[in-house]
């Protein structure tokens, strides 16, 4: 294995551990200490203090929990709904497929995270609404991918045989189609995790995500950009955290795709 791959695994693994443990290990993250207002990094607090005199370090660790939780749920929901939808319309074909493709086209017509922004705006802020908004945007990528994959294998002999033997449709999809399309879906899901982490931070950056005082990387970066002139360290810590996990996941995704010989997935937008 290449050094870059090992490093990526270590980075992602560390963040996952932090995300799982920080709610139990990291104590109070909202303690206000007005004497330390805007103080820069020091040996006791390597990421410095923010505009309320809160220690940024522990807040970054707790922010990992928010990011990873959102990413986990959104990608899981999207994979289940998207894959089911994609296999279903490809299997039945004809009018079902035609309508299904139009539905996907409509969702894909909202550029980037615009629909998520609009949904989060009308639903109101909060973790649950972020989950809903991002899932509504993300499932389409998996639907498009699994539809294309299913179309390419549904006429293979083993599927025809299963059909001739009277195997129920559900069983055919689960046992004869799903295992063959799972590799590209895993690659797609890897990139989707990175994309969702960025999207969640983006919504929080716009003030539409997780609400204060709960620490979230996007919200912390937003606070940091307000005080860029006097305290640039405020955006630096959470920025590095976000960047490190996203680049590690993307590098792993690239590696995974290359080893599975899959062209870049449809989610990349």
């Amino acid at each position: 294995m290449r050094v870059a791959t090992i490093m990526s695994i270590v980075v992602v693994g560390s963040w996952l551990t932090v995300a799982l443990l920080s709610p139990f290990v990291v104590g109070e993250v909202n303690a206000i200490n007005l004497e330390r207002l805007f103080s820069g990094p020091s040996s006791s607090a390597i990421f410095g203090f923010d505009d309320l005199g809160r220690d940024i370090g522990p807040r970054i660790l707790r922010g990992a929990t928010v990011s990873c939780t959102v990413a986990f749920f959104v990608v899981t929901i999207s994979v289940v709904i998207g894959t089911t939808f994609g296999i279903f319309i490809a299997w039945y074909g004809g009018l079902v497929d035609l309508i299904g493709v139009r539905v996907m086209d409509v969702f894909l017509a909202f550029p980037g995270i615009l629909l998520a922004i609009a949904l989060a705006a009308v639903l109101g802020p909060g973790v649950e609404n972020v989950l809903i908004a991002l899932s509504i945007v993300s499932w389409v990528g998996f639907a498009r991918l699994s539809r294309a994959q299913t179309l390419s294998i549904k006429h293979r002999d083993h599927v025809t045989v299963a059909q001739a033997l009277g195997t129920p449709v559900f069983t055919i999809c689960r046992r004869h189609i799903l295992p063959l399309i799972v590799a590209p879906i895993i690659v797609e899901a890897t990139f989707a995790i990175a994309a969702v982490i960025i999207a969640e931070a983006g919504l929080s950056f716009l003030g539409l995500g997780v609400q204060p005082p709960t620490p979230s990387w996007g919200a912390m970066i937003k606070e940091g950009t307000r005080y860029l002139l006097i305290a640039p360290h405020m955006a630096l810590g959470p920025g590095l955290a976000l960047f490190s996990i996203v680049i590690a996941i993307n590098a792993l995704g690239d590696r995974l795709r290359d080893s599975l010989q899959i062209k870049r997935g449809a989610f990349q937008n």
Binding site: R102, D105, A109, L119, F205, P232, V246, N250, A251
Partner: protein, 306 residues
């Protein structure tokens, strides 16, 4: 050709109808009473009733949907709840700014991606290739709300080359365009590399080289036009990410475009304006993609034959 164009246009029309319907229903997703959310709890009953009637919320859903779409056909989006100005006029002020930003970002992305992608394709599996791959990995991994502040720290605060934000000077556009164009440049350079590599192994490239043509001529005249199709497709699709990303980038740099307007409208709970912004951005995206499809069907005979 004619039927292809007709088919593409009909598809686009159906998609646009779906987009406008979803946007229409956004207002109905507001938890509780949207009128109360927009006016606040302290608003008196007469004001609420008036707004409800203005937005047509007391009519049956189907009739509301019809009114909404009738308005769209005549560019009548109603008026903004905050400024009371007609939404169409507000949008007309903002659209040119987003357009300028999008075009500038596209140019920057192409300027970065073409040399990077071509170099990587001409020297695959060398140091150049690794450098290009690393730059592109950095580009896709850095979100614009991180790159923007970073560029401000380095080039505005540190070096003082460009203004921090606003639109007063012509150089104001450089940092927002770079922020918005970075991820597009990254994806585009990968696409150019992959697409060129495929074409470069074709026989007509070998024969062009054998005729003694220089690398620049071979790549520019023989390889690039043939590799352009997948690159154009990606460019069209990625324009969506560009337009979506414009919302965040315009916020960072106080760029007075549709993206900033969207967020302002959200903060003021001016939902009709939010709907109009979402529609304009999405419609622009669909229009660009439809145009890309039609244009390269004209340009590339291989598509017309299919």
């Amino acid at each position: 050709m004619g039927s292809l164009a007709a088919h593409r246009l009909v598809t686009a029309a159906i998609v646009l109808l779906g987009v406008s319907s979803i946007t229409f229903f956004l207002l109905h997703l507001v938890p509780g009473d949207p009128v109360e959310v927009m006016l606040g709890e302290s608003a008196n009953i007469a004001d609420r009733a008036q707004l409800r009637a203005e937005l047509g919320l007391d009519a049956p859903l189907l009739q509301q949907w019809m009114t909404f779409h009738k308005g769209l056909l005549t560019f009548d989006f109603g008026s903004s709840l905050y400024s009371k100005k007609p939404i169409a006029a507000v949008l007309a002020e903002r659209i040119p700014w987003t357009l300028i930003l999008a075009v500038a970002s596209l140019c920057i992305a192409i300027l970065i991606a073409v040399p990077l992608g071509v170099l990587a394709a001409l020297r695959p599996n060398t140091l150049w290739d690794s450098v290009a791959a690393t730059v592109s990995l950095l580009g896709v991994s850095i979100p614009n709300f991180l790159l923007g502040p970073l560029l401000i720290i380095i080039f505005s605060i540190g070096l003082g080359w460009f203004p921090v934000s606003g639109t007063e000077r012509i150089t104001s556009i450089v940092l927002p365009a770079l922020t918005l164009g970075a991820s597009l440049a990254a994806i585009l350079s990968r696409m150019i590399r992959a697409s060129l590599l495929e074409v470069l192994s074709e026989e007509y490239i070998v024969s062009a080289r054998a005729r003694g043509l220089g690398a620049l001529v071979v790549v520019g005249y023989h390889a690039m036009p043939n590799a352009a199709l997948p690159i154009l497709t990606i460019l069209g699709l990625q324009l969506g990410a560009l337009l979506g990303g414009a919302v965040i980038t315009e916020m960072i740099f106080a760029w007075p475009g549709v993206g900033q307007l969207t967020i302002e409208a959200i903060q003021r709970r001016d939902y009709p304006l939010v709907q109009a912004c979402v529609l304009v951005i999405s419609f622009a995206y669909v229009a660009v993609n439809t145009l890309t499809d039609l244009v390269y069907a004209r340009v590339d005979p291989r598509i017309r034959m299919q």
